[in-house]
């Protein structure tokens, strides 16, 4: 690990001041950052510990929730309002990592964990455009069973590893950010970037910007929502494919729907094409399958991961059927 200065912020103003230093990084639970620092893939000159910033989950006026960025993943998953009103979010968090890691990981850190693949870690042995921009990508023609099928580029085919973020994408979360130039808010879908020719830039945040709050708008549709994660073993593994969904029916028709996918792209993937195909249509297995097909018309499989396309379609269809069954 490269040497660094450590400091602990007591409030947001102090975090911003300390985090404004050159090559500084915020430190949440450290479950991603410390690991990458140990491999010298990340080499910050300073760490600003933000785990002692206020970590509240507050009711937002007019419904909805305001979640402090320092809230631990476990605390969010177990919160009664989340369990009742946003079950997809509890389920997604509980499907990720291990209990120990969820106890450490913060909400902000979960959002900003690196999009990565095994070659990204292999500094000595392989080329990676994310680690060393312009170097090339050994995954594109290598072992790429777990890589992206949507939205990838010639430069990078890695997938975003977070489960929680897939639920937040489906729930139309809003990210509150503070930096040297003041406060701003953005829709969750604008936080993460697709790789394009700059896979080293994963988010639209500026250096020194701090995520302060994740806002969940009030949404009655979210009460009937769930998350399904398909992986190589039944616990403690990253997703091959995952689906976050919420469904509202009106008679036999789809009144409204939210659908997001994990394990398929460089960012949490909101399945807008499928949503559009579903809205107002029949709530039948055939219609669910057709919507899933619509989402994947542009899918681009690599050597080893074509199976993910069919897997994702089947998982979407099954999850929607489960929610529709529940609704009747």
């Amino acid at each position: 690990m490269t040497p660094f200065d450590y400091s602990r912020a007591g409030d947001v103003a102090e975090a911003l001041r300390l985090g404004g230093a050159a090559q500084a990084k915020f430190l949440g639970g450290g479950t991603n950052l410390v690991d990458l620092m140990r491999e010298t893939i990340e080499r910050p000159a300073a760490l600003v510990d933000i785990t002692r910033l206020p970590a509240d989950i507050a009711e937002r006026e007019g419904g909805g929730l305001l979640i402090g960025a320092a809230v631990r993943n476990t605390a969010l998953a177990e919160h009664p309002a989340v369990r009742r009103r946003y079950p997809v979010l509890s389920r997604a968090i509980l499907a990720g990592a291990s209990a120990q890691i969820r106890n450490m990981a913060t909400v902000g850190g979960n959002l900003l964990q690196r999009t990565r693949c095994p070659y990204f870690y292999d500094d000595a042995g392989s080329r990676c455009n994310k680690r060393n921009p312009g170097q090339g990508c050994d995954a594109i023609d290598g072992f790429n069973r777990n890589h992206a099928i949507l939205g990838a580029s010639e430069a990078c085919v890695a997938t975003h590893p977070s489960d929680m973020c897939v639920a937040l994408a489906a729930l139309d979360a809003v990210v509150h950010v503070e930096g040297g130039h003041g406060k701003r808010q953005m829709p969750f879908g604008e936080l993460h970037r697709l790789p394009g020719d700059r896979p080293d830039q994963e988010t639209t945040l500026q250096p020194g910007e701090l995520i302060t709050v994740i806002e969940l708008p009030s949404q009655s549709i979210a009460a009937r929502s769930t998350y399904r994660k398909v992986r190589d073993r039944s616990s403690y593994a990253f997703a091959l494919v995952s689906v976050a969904a919420a469904l509202k029916l009106d008679g036999g028709k789809v009144k409204d729907v939210r659908l997001a996918l994990g394990g398929v792209a460089h960012k949490p993937w909101r399945a807008l094409k499928a949503e559009q195909a579903l809205r107002g249509g029949e709530a039948t297995a055939e219609a669910f399958r057709a919507a899933a097909e619509a989402e994947f018309t542009d899918a681009a499989p690599l050597r080893d991961n074509a199976f993910k396309i069919e897997l994702a379609k089947r998982t979407i269809t099954a999850v929607l059927a489960e929610l529709a069954g529940d609704a009747r």
């Binding site: 009742r84 209990a99 450490m104």
Partner: protein, 178 residues
């Protein structure tokens, strides 16, 4: 084990009831502080990447992996390791149960398993759901075999003693709850 009555001083890390200075080098992980500086070798290093659970300890009663945690982050906190569980009166009930249920072979994963299970028991008691909990809204979650299996999946055992481990945990907590 007796709970600490007072908080640890802000500049120290309390480990098994004794206050130690925070290391001067912030690169030192909590795991390396325990093993290399304090010679508390009960906590084990398996992967050093958060993946195996061998380094699990309790911080203010919550289970974490000490390998991915910088020691400086724990200033003012209270850490319990496997060395802190037994008392004058004898082994912690879960340690005894691991012996009775053959909850280990080589023993390398055992300190992490035991600390993890203690953290798990308090999570279950306060109603934290898991990936396999059928009803998220339930106030009470029964410590079934499946629940314990899922909740302990962050602790690997190369010897495959998992059935004994789960039996030991159920023997200690589930039967007490039933």
């Amino acid at each position: 084990m007796t709970a600490d009555r007072t908080a640890a001083p802000a500049a120290a890390i309390r480990i098994n009831g004794v206050d130690y200075p925070v290391p001067a080098d912030p690169r030192v992980s909590l795991l390396d502080l325990l093993r290399e500086t304090l010679n508390l070798h009960g906590t084990k290093k398996g992967c050093n990447q958060g993946a195996c659970g061998a380094c699990t300890v309790l911080v203010d009663g919550e289970r974490i992996v000490s390998c991915l945690s910088l020691a400086v982050q724990h200033a003012g906190r209270s850490v319990t390791t496997i060395e802190g569980l037994a008392s004058e009166a004898g082994l912690h009930p879960l340690q005894q149960a691991f012996i009775e249920h053959d909850g280990f072979q080589c023993g390398y994963c055992t300190p992490g398993q035991i600390c993890s299970a203690i953290g798990m028991a308090s999570e279950l008691q306060r109603g934290v759901p898991s990936h396999v909990t059928p009803d998220l809204a339930a106030d009470h979650i029964a410590p079934t075999h499946d629940e314990i299996r899922e909740r302990m999946s962050g602790n690997l055992c190369r010897c495959g003693a998992h059935n004994g481990i789960i039996a030991a945990i159920r023997g200690t907590y589930a039967e007490a709850a039933e």
